[in-house]
């Protein structure tokens, strides 16, 4: 039997959306005295139970605001879940919003060391892989230019190159296979595919069902923070298609209802 890679038990993630954001001391004191601090609770994830085995490639499907990115961030350890526990076996390479963690005033090559250190690489490891990273990112002489002068494609390319230079056990991909131009996209997809062959566990978020079908062998559907379905991609994909179709039909009705209920803001 395959080994467990990730075990999620009873994961719940609650956000407090204060109706008016209180972030000044005066406001807080006034509201505290008047007992006006009310939080609007919002569960981005609710009671998620899931075991992912080594070598499985799991696509995470769901509409906007279903909790996909929140789930990935919980697994990556960025969010600490309000309830439940995450068990992880093996090194995780999180590819979330590539290049967003760069320091803009730093040059590309300085960022390689900084970002590498953030991902837990050792200095020696980065020294060894430095050329490989620069080469893969195709930045050439731009590597010595401050990142603030990069285009967003260049930034993502560099982020992808740094994050994938390591051979991780668990790979978290959040819409990242759509970075750069068509050429780099193909190249990055190939690189990720190569990792698949070495038996890496993958969590993949994409809005393109095509891409999920091509890459993943398992899939889950999230809806309003709940796990609706989990299973082989062949079973889940049709279910998701049906779900989207169903949603489209009820859209006009829902919109009216929402206006009446005057819904408050969501996670994003």
């Amino acid at each position: 039997m395959a080994k467990k890679a990730i075990v999620l038990s009873h994961i719940g993630m609650k956000f407090n959306l204060s109706k008016e954001k209180v972030d000044s001391l005066k406001e807080y004191l006034i509201k505290f005295v008047r007992k006006e601090i009310r939080y609007n609770e919002f569960w981005a994830l609710k009671d998620i139970n899931l075991t992912i085995y080594e070598g499985e490639r799991v696509g995470i499907l769901g509409l906007n605001g279903a909790g996909k990115s929140t789930l990935l961030k919980v697994i990556a350890g960025v969010f600490k879940p309000t309830e439940g526990t995450v068990e992880k076996h093996g090194k995780i390479a999180p590819l979330l919003e590539l290049g967003a963690g760069f320091d803009k005033q730093y040059t590309g090559s300085e960022n390689i060391y900084l970002y590498g250190a953030m991902l837990g690489y050792k200095k020696k490891f980065i020294d060894e892989k430095y050329n490989e990273i620069v080469e893969f990112s195709e930045l050439g002489e731009f590597i010595d230019v401050p990142v603030k002068n990069y285009s967003s494609g260049m930034r993502s390319r560099l982020g992808f190159s740094i994050a994938t230079v390591v051979a991780p056990k668990i790979l978290i991909l959040d819409e990242v296979l759509s970075v750069g131009d068509a050429k780099f996209r193909r190249k990055s997809e190939r690189k990720v595919m190569d990792m698949f062959d070495s038996g890496v566990t993958v969590l993949f978020v994409s809005h393109s069902l095509e891409q999920v079908k091509r890459i993943c062998n398992k899939a889950m559907i999230l809806d309003h923070g709940k796990l609706v379905a989990y299973g082989d991609i062949d079973e889940v994909a049709p279910q998701y298609e049906k779900m989207i179709e169903g949603r489209e039909d009820e859209l006009p009705r829902r919109a009216k209802k929402n206006r009446k209920k005057k819904k408050t803001g969501r996670e994003n």
Partner: protein, 258 residues
């Protein structure tokens, strides 16, 4: 506890990278670069000596050294706590993407300022030698002052970092508080002037002044005030305990605020 030590060892390369980044970026794009860390306190000392030497009529030859001791320690405390205060918010982009123990950001903010401060001590050594101060055995007390000021800044830094995440006002409040603290440190006046006025307790209960006094004793070659030393030590340890406890308790909520 073991867990924290292990993670610290694992992340010491990142800590070093963050410290390096702070130092590099502070002086990037200025022509004189790191030389500013020497030039700035030197120019400041000259201004303060001219102004206060004239106004207060202090014509002692070593008055510049007296000012420099106070000013260097105070300005380290001020810049490092300010940097710590904003450390979490400034690094929010990174915090949201990759999991890294968050205390590293605050600690590195204090540490990079500490290294710049240590470099700037060269000015103190230079000015003291030029003005004819001879080093004595008491100079070893300076090490105590340097350790104490680091502890005090780290402790205060963690308290402020936690508060700074939840209340943006802290930035402005703290800079006002720092001005008040500056006048309570006897940087450019002799504390004896306060002795007679009945406000001497303000100095005695200001740990930063106690540390400055220890530093001055070391430089001017006299035995430090033990009472000051014990008080500053206890106060620093207290802030570190409170700062770390509050930080660890609240750190998981940071991400929801930034």
């Amino acid at each position: 506890m073991k867990k924290y030590i292990e993670s610290f060892i694992n992340y010491r390369f990142l800590l070093w990278e963050l410290v390096k980044k702070g130092i590099k970026l502070k002086y990037r794009r200025s022509y004189l670069g790191i030389i500013w860390s020497l030039l700035e306190p030197l120019l400041n000392m000259i201004v303060l000596t001219i102004v206060f030497g004239t106004i207060l009529g202090n014509h002692e030859k070593t008055f510049p050294v007296y000012i420099l001791c106070g000013r260097l320690l105070y300005s380290f405390f001020s810049t490092s706590t300010k940097a710590a205060l904003t450390s979490i918010r400034k690094n929010s982009a990174m915090i949201k993407k990759v999991y890294v123990p968050k205390y590293l950001y605050t600690l590195s903010a204090v540490l990079y300022n500490y290294i710049i401060f240590l470099i700037s001590l060269i000015v103190l050594v230079g000015v003291a030698l030029v003005l004819g101060l001879k080093p004595s055995v008491y100079l070893f007390q300076a090490l105590l002052a340097l350790v104490l000021i680091l502890m005090l800044s780290t402790g205060c830094g963690f308290i402020l970092a936690t508060l700074g995440v939840f209340f943006r006002d802290m930035e402005y409040l703290w800079s006002v508080a720092l001005t008040l603290i500056m006048y309570m440190c006897a940087i450019f006046y002799q504390p004896e002037r306060l002795l007679s006025s009945g406000f001497y307790w303000i100095l005695k209960f200001n740990p930063l002044y106690c540390i400055i006094d220890i530093m001055r004793s070391a430089v001017f070659g006299s035995m430090m005030n033990m009472q000051y030393f014990v008080y500053a030590l206890c106060f620093s340890i207290g802030t570190i305990i409170i700062g770390l406890a509050g930080f660890i308790k609240k750190q998981d909520e940071f991400i929801l605020q930034i």
